[in-house]
Subunit: 344 residues, 2 copies
């Protein structure tokens, strides 16, 4: 579980103090860049630091100062490029602020999330950025992290405490996509994919419905099709719903994966997306631009979201008493060929 740091003993402030003929206190002041120490003394100490290959023991310093220099990042699905980019952005911004990232990946398992959070807490992070696993229990998380740890929840709502929350502007995104299809003349537009019990799906559906109603159209219930947001599932679901699509001319999809799956299903049924059926995605994954025809979708900039999450968390760390914030990150419609089909 833990391992002895065998090998040569690391050099400490005591070694440096002895080697440069000053007290440990003075070495510490040099390390922390205090203006109190004389230039000559500083130079003497710095020479020894370099000569002996000193490396600062931040854990010891944190213990003494009652500070933390780490932030825990708990991610539900690191294999999803969206979250991987997000993680990279978080790590980048935390690094710039002098913090280190403690990673925990949960693979959408609430049990693993529990274990991971418990383990991370023992390392006294200054805060936690949590992209919750599906069906995770907010109250349990609350018990685990305590009332005094800074927490930022990302992407998925997690009821149970009054945490800061950062999410994409799902409603606006879906509304933009729907309005785009409406502007092209489509009227019988489906909303395809996602689980109706997830907050992001609910929000996207809401945006779709808003746009439809604003255009004077009442979406028929059968136009709202639920489906696990994977490509394979989406392709399968299309086939099962053949009947529903005889009158529909376009679909706003829950995300790009679903859109690409639907595309496969449509092709298998002899339809040609972009020519006699229009569709849009969500996320702008790299493949969206590469596929034929390229996919109209919403750009969400996961790396920028990661940076934003890190910054929000650090603000929270600085001011624990500020009221909790719900931040909605902008999304941007990217128009490509897949939505170019004329109304049939």
């Amino acid at each position: 579980m833990t391992t002895p740091k065998s090998g040569r003993k690391p050099v400490t402030v005591t070694d440096i103090a002895r080697a440069s003929g000053v007290s440990r206190a003075t070495v510490s002041l040099v390390l922390r860049g205090s203006p109190l120490v004389h230039a000559d003394t500083r130079a003497k100490v710095e020479a020894q630091l370099k000569r002996l290959g000193y490396v600062y023991n931040r854990a010891a310093a944190n213990l003494r100062r009652q500070t933390s220099s780490s932030v825990a990042l708990v991610i539900n699905d690191l294999s999803n490029p969206f979250f991987a980019e997000f993680a990279a952005g978080v790590d980048e911004a935390l690094g710039e602020a002098g913090y280190i990232t403690l990673l925990g990946s949960t693979n959408e398992s609430p049990e693993r999330q529990h274990a991971v959070l418990a383990s991370l807490m023992e390392h006294s992070p200054a805060g936690i950025i949590l992209s919750p696993a599906e069906h995770s229990d907010g109250e349990q998380v609350q018990r685990l992290v305590g009332a005094h740890t800074a927490v930022l929840v990302f992407n998925r709502e997690l009821p149970g405490a009054d945490w800061d929350f950062l999410a994409l502007d799902n409603r606006r995104g879906a509304r933009l996509a729907t309005e785009h299809l409406l502007a092209l003349g489509h009227r019988r537009i489906a909303f395809f994919g996602g689980h109706a019990d997830s907050s992001s799906c609910q929000e996207r559906r809401q945006g779709y419905i808003e746009a439809m109603i604003a255009a004077g159209i009442t979406p028929e219930p059968r136009w709202l099709v639920e489906c696990t947001p994977s490509r394979v599932e989406a392709a399968r679901t299309t086939a099962e719903l053949a009947a529903s699509y005889t009158d529909v001319t376009a679909a706003v999809c829950y995300n790009d994966n679903v859109a690409l799956g639907l595309k496969l299903g449509l092709i298998a049924r002899g339809l040609r997306p972009g020519q006699n059926f229009a569709l849009t995605g969500f996320d702008d994954i790299p493949e969206a631009a590469q596929t034929t025809p390229p996919l109209t979708t919403l750009a969400v900039e996961p790396r920028a979201r990661g940076r934003q999450a890190a910054e929000l968390l650090l603000e929270r760390v600085r001011d624990r008493d500020a009221p909790a914030r719900h931040i909605v990150a902008p999304v941007q419609l990217v128009v490509r060929g897949s939505s170019g089909a004329p109304v049939s």
Copy 2:
């Protein structure tokens, strides 16, 4: 840079000792599961641990015991699903072994890698798993991590010290792909993509050449085409090389991205991969199975490689004096439609 842990003071062994009427030493023994303490005493202490919401301070324990419970994971390109899966595998296996993952993402920048390693070292990791940034300097890394830290290098060779090294079996993978195309009757086969100065490209080219020569064919120099391994670059390069491809009937590609880019380039030139041109990839990214025609490629199981890397590193942590190992991870040919083109 670091932040005070404000809020209520966390409860310590001293609090628990006082609350349960025993010494701190006894509390510590309970925490560490020592068999020396009487069942009644243990129960008494555990009740207080729960009641007061004690959370173990692993940093303090590590300081006192001169141990570490973390491993640094430094990744060159987290936005690449291959590395993201790898990271997830590492984190999983480390977690099971009781270690925590300190993440550092370098975005292929040697400068960032330098900064990240320096920062990570201050947190005294038990070891480092390093997937080096392009053009990083092994000697510099060596200076940074010192001679006594366990290091496992992944994926890309890093000359400069005698570290453990885990890589894919690039040579065998390319040989399998080439043999597959040869068995289908192709003889004028190109090797497309990659930078000739990267170790992985060299190895894959070697496997290709081996297979060709074993089949009695001497690859012509113009069949070896260099190209940055991104899709866009690959598509562009194809067009520039139109002349070279008039007699070639198949290509072994450096990886899936390159293969998918080449495919786009071929289609743009009126060729139909899988029908009048055969190609193979490397990596088996999710898209390989989804594209039309699906891509013949080599499965590398990045998550399993991550687990393997974690295990190798922990072995090294346990035995610093064992000789350095070069481990080659198996890859598996996955035959799909893209290589089904007849010889023209």
